[in-house]
């Protein structure tokens, strides 16, 4: 009986989907360890963080826009990452500006792009998908306008930051980018849970009309959400440039979709108002581990890779959906019992 109650309360919890995601992640990891040699090395896990650092940051930003609801979404982020890398590379190679100055400049680019998009969306009530799609076109195009060829970054101190390794208690190492990603994630969690701004975003996502009637600053908050997304994309771009050390028009192609998928797997509803930030990192890690699996497997043809990625994603999402649906039944049952 006690056990049952315990399970029931876990199921009824708002973080249920998060639990499901984490458990499925652990199960996947366990299968990996059982199946492949070397999977159990701690560095495999750290690699997940290193490889997906910029995706984590970008996903955090996108999640802010998705929470605002009403179709809120930011699909310009991949292109912003590319643009930021290009600008970084261009500025570092062609000017004498100091690295911190350059980084601030490119972060500003992200903020400006986010602001313009947010302004169009919340003041003129334009559709987020279309505005940010245009933003995506614009940024990709601008990247090509700056340079159609790859620009290499060989500034020695910049390269040094990129190859810096942070020891993780002797079990391996992570990169500076991964550290930045974790910090961003923690800040985002705090902002969403413990600030007025964070809660207002959720309220808008729940019902924009109500939020406005309750006297919340809807327009301002929505703009800010897009600014944050732009900023995160730019910061993600900086971290991305530490991996790539170059600017190139095709960088971060399709990253927006990875980010959106990660966010959703982590428990975000695309209809808005529901998200759990710690879930997003697991959303990213799940996708990362699927790729790791495929690499460790090592015999798939190119096309099978795509199909298997798609299929695993699909199984995962269906499982999530079914468990959540089952949960709804269970909760209505348990509420009935407690009513008696």
């Amino acid at each position: 009986m006690n056990m049952k109650q315990y399970i029931n309360s876990a199921i009824a919890s708002r973080y249920f989907q998060f639990f499901v995601t984490v458990i499925l992640f652990i199960v996947l990891y366990g299968i990996g360890i059982a199946m492949y040699n070397g999977f159990s090395r701690p560095q495999v896990f750290w690699n997940l963080l290193i490889d997906n650092a910029s995706l984590i940051i970008v996903t955090v930003g996108v999640t802010f826009t998705i929470i605002t609801g009403g179709g809120g979404i930011d699909i310009s982020v991949g292109a912003v990452v590319a643009l930021v890398c290009m600008c970084l590379a261009y500025l570092l190679q062609n000017t004498e500006l100091a690295i911190p100055v350059v980084i601030c400049l490119v972060l500003l680019i992200g903020i400006v792009i986010g602001f313009v998009q947010g302004y169009l969306i919340s003041v003129f009530k334009m559709q987020p998908f279309i505005v940010t799609l245009a933003g995506m076109f614009f940024c990709r195009g601008m990247t090509a306008v700056i340079s159609r060829d790859t620009i290499n970054i060989d500034n020695p101190s910049y390269v040094a930051i990129a190859s810096e390794r942070i020891n993780m208690f002797g079990t391996g190492f992570i990169s500076v980018g991964a550290l930045v990603a974790l910090i961003v994630l923690i800040i985002a969690i705090i902002v969403l849970k413990y600030t007025k701004f964070g809660r207002t975003i959720f309220a808008i996502g729940g019902n924009e009309n109500s939020a406005s009637l309750m006297g919340l600053p809807v327009t301002k908050t929505k703009i800010l959400a897009y600014v944050i997304s732009g900023f995160c994309a730019a910061l993600g771009g900086v971290v991305y440039s530490w991996t790539m050390l170059s600017g190139y028009t095709l960088h971060a192609m399709g990253m927006e979709m990875d980010a959106i998928a990660s966010s959703v797997i982590g428990g975000t509803l695309l209809t808005g108002g529901v998200a759990f930030m710690p879930g997003t990192i697991f959303g990213v890690l799940i996708q990362g581990i699927i790729l790791t699996f495929i690499t460790f497997q090592g015999t798939l043809s190119a096309w099978w890779t795509k199909i298997v990625v798609g299929a695993l994603l699909c199984i995962f999402i269906i499982m999530q959906a079914l468990i959540t649906e089952h949960k709804n039944k269970l909760t209505s049952k348990s509420s009935m019992e407690s009513n008696k």
Binding site: F138, G141, R148, T249, A302
Partner: protein, 345 residues
């Protein structure tokens, strides 16, 4: 007069104006824009037909997309389905150098379109029954779809030497109008017929606006959603035929690449809201033609394909801004104010 006013306030007015401006721009700045001639193999040749020809498959995709979006969904898998459909068709006809088809072309075509429908049904099933978010459902197929297409072609680009295959993307001998245009017109006719003769349009809008209330009113919401995605798959299947016939090959990697975005853009430019509800088929068609005209114009002006998106972005934003009710309100208010000021003075 009244009619004119009605037309002016109708949803199709703005997209049409935008298209008209683009066309005028072309006539002025692109030499030989209006030239039409008949080639040796008996086909209309010229920029205008080129644009119509190229926009045909986009138009077809945006027909399906309009319905999907009207139910408050989205289908970003259409590009991948185009690739799958092309792969099915070409691998059935086969890449035999002697120009002989392995299976009759009709069989291949039907199979290709049927594959598209199956893909759409898969999406529809997941959205309607398992209740997964449309963007995620179609994202799965978008990722896996190209893999499936490559699996069908075994990573090769199957070039089809069977001559009649090129009729789909070219023209049927003796008929000077390019086939894609004819196919697009047939598809539009089919959609118009459905909308006029059935209540599907009403149901789709109703489901898009308020699914719960629609269910209470006796509409089979899941069925409508399922049908809509299946139809989108059908459209993608047809598009896939045209796209693969245009290059006479199945290119699993590049067929229909990024077309989903263009189709969504076409629908949005046409005035349909991505949040679902009221939809405008006419607007979507005009939107599709506008996008293609813009692309072709930019190529003609020598803008590189990787820089072209900048122009596209600016045009899209301007168009949507003009369409935005709130922008117009704010704009009108300031205009009114100046008029008042003038009156006072």
């Amino acid at each position: 007069m009244d009619k004119l006013k009605n037309f002016k306030s109708s949803s199709i007015f703005l997209p049409l104006v935008a298209l008209a401006i683009l066309v005028i721009f072309n006539i002025i700045f692109v030499p030989g824009f209006l030239d039409v001639e008949i080639t040796q193999d008996g086909r209309l040749y010229g920029r205008v037909f080129d644009i119509l020809n190229r926009s045909s498959s986009l138009i077809i995709l945006s027909l399906g997309m309009t319905f999907v979006i009207a139910t408050a969904g989205i289908d970003i898998s259409v590009g991948a389905v185009v690739a799958i459909s092309g792969a099915v068709c070409c691998s059935l006809i086969g890449g035999r150098g002697d120009g002989v088809a392995e299976y009759p072309m009709v069989v291949a075509m039907i199979a290709a379109i049927a594959t598209g429908v199956v893909c759409g049904m898969w999406n529809g099933f997941l959205v309607a029954k398992i209740k997964i978010q449309p963007m995620v459902v179609t994202l799965i197929l978008m990722v896996a779809g190209r893999g499936i297409a490559q699996l069908l072609t075994e990573g090769q680009i199957i070039t089809v030497y069977y001559a009649p295959f090129s009729y789909i993307g070219g023209n049927i001998p003796g008929n000077i109008i390019p086939s894609p245009i004819i196919i697009a017109i047939l598809m539009i006719a089919l959609v118009v017929f459905i909308l006029k003769k059935t209540s599907l349009g009403l149901f789709i809008q109703s489901v898009g606006i308020n699914p719960t209330a629609s269910r209470y009113a006796g509409i089979n919401v899941a069925l409508i959603i399922f049908l809509v995605y299946a139809f989108s798959g059908f459209c993608a299947g047809v598009s896939g035929l045209i796209e693969s016939s245009l290059i006479r090959a199945a290119d699993a990697n590049n067929a229909g690449l990024n077309m989903e975005m263009d189709a969504i853009l076409a629908v949005a430019l046409g005035g349909t809201l991505l949040s679902g509800g009221k939809f405008y088929i006419g607007g979507s068609i005009i939107g599709a033609i506008t996008i293609q005209t813009l692309t072709t114009t930019m190529y003609a002006m020598g803008v590189a394909s990787d820089q072209l998106p900048v122009v596209k972005a600016i045009v899209v934003i301007i168009l949507c801004l003009i369409q935005s009710k709130h922008f117009r309100e704010i704009f009108n208010k300031s205009k009114k104010n100046t008029v008042k000021a003038v009156d006072k003075a």
